[in-house]
């Protein structure tokens, strides 16, 4: 477990899922930004959200194609 870096709350306010343009849920423990609509979790590395679909983790369970 590495020490968590915090993400600027002002930045979180303006970020959306690049695929769906829908709001994201910030999972502080997992350091991920979750897009329920796209079924993707975008990683946050060293406090920097990686907002690329290629780098995101597909959510398990209810898979959505679009």
């Amino acid at each position: 477990m590495t020490a968590k870096s915090t993400v600027d709350p002002k930045l979180l306010e303006i970020l959306v899922c690049p695929v769906t343009k829908q709001a994201l849920r910030y999972d502080e423990d997992a350091q991920e930004l979750i897009s329920e609509a796209a079924g993707l979790a975008y990683p946050i590395r060293d406090g920097i959200p990686i907002m690329l679909a290629d780098e995101a983790r597909p959510l398990e369970g209810d898979q959505k194609s679009d």
Partner: protein, 306 residues
Amino acid sequence: MPTSESENSAIIFDRNAVRRHQARAAASFAEHDFLFREVAERLADRLQDIKRSFDVGISLGARGDHLRESLMGNDAISVLHEMGSNTGSPGIAFIGDEEALPVKPNSADLIVSNLALHWTNDVPGTLIQCRQALKPDGLFMAAILGGETLTELRQVLMEVEAEISGGVSPRISPFAELSDAASLLQRAGFNLPVADSDTITVTYSNVFALMHDLRGMGETNAVVTRPKYFSKRQIFLRAAERYSELFAGSDGKIPASFQVLYLTGWAPDASQQKPLRPGTASTRLADALETEEHSAGETADPENSN
């Protein structure tokens, strides 16, 4: 939502190659960043001419510190979130792709970009996403490389490759022309679109120094159909020779031109200037010009004419 409709736009650039080139260049970018530094200054000057302050600014394709340093100098911007393509660049707030912009619609007062958007395949789609990310009356200002960039190198490589291998391959990326730029902005829904250009000429001792610098900037060819093997050595040796023959100055050094296009547009807002309906003018043109009005002969309403 009418966002990235990339299916109908051609894939010209290999976006992964762009990202790879920039990531590879990140570590020693500061040694090759003169063009970015220069253009950052010019963008900052232009922004200063616009007497406005901006709460939330976003910088797209940020690399290095220059734009932040140049822009934050005039404290017109409260917050600047910088989006980069790799985590190797200093000051990056988030990683994103301009073609799939992860920015909430209606959330930014300013979007700036210093020499990044010329690598997008879907320029209209990218501009539309920028316009949507802006609040009404928000400003979009981007510097991109234009079609006259590296015109000397283009000419030399084409000539030499045709001479040696009997064919020509795309070795230098194609870029937008100034004549297209304003209409691109307009079609993306920006108001008061303006496009203009500057040419920055840099001199090098030879072609190899130029190529070294381009690689250092992370600006080497990323065209999908680029040759994926190393080019024949003789092509570059011959190119170096021809470049000097055609373009070298009296000191033996060779020039390389970079054409920079500046694109400016505003997200529509009711407060912006717009043309009045015909016939609603409250001042005579003749009065404004301090001249006497002469009838041109026919008038639409002869009863009221003088």
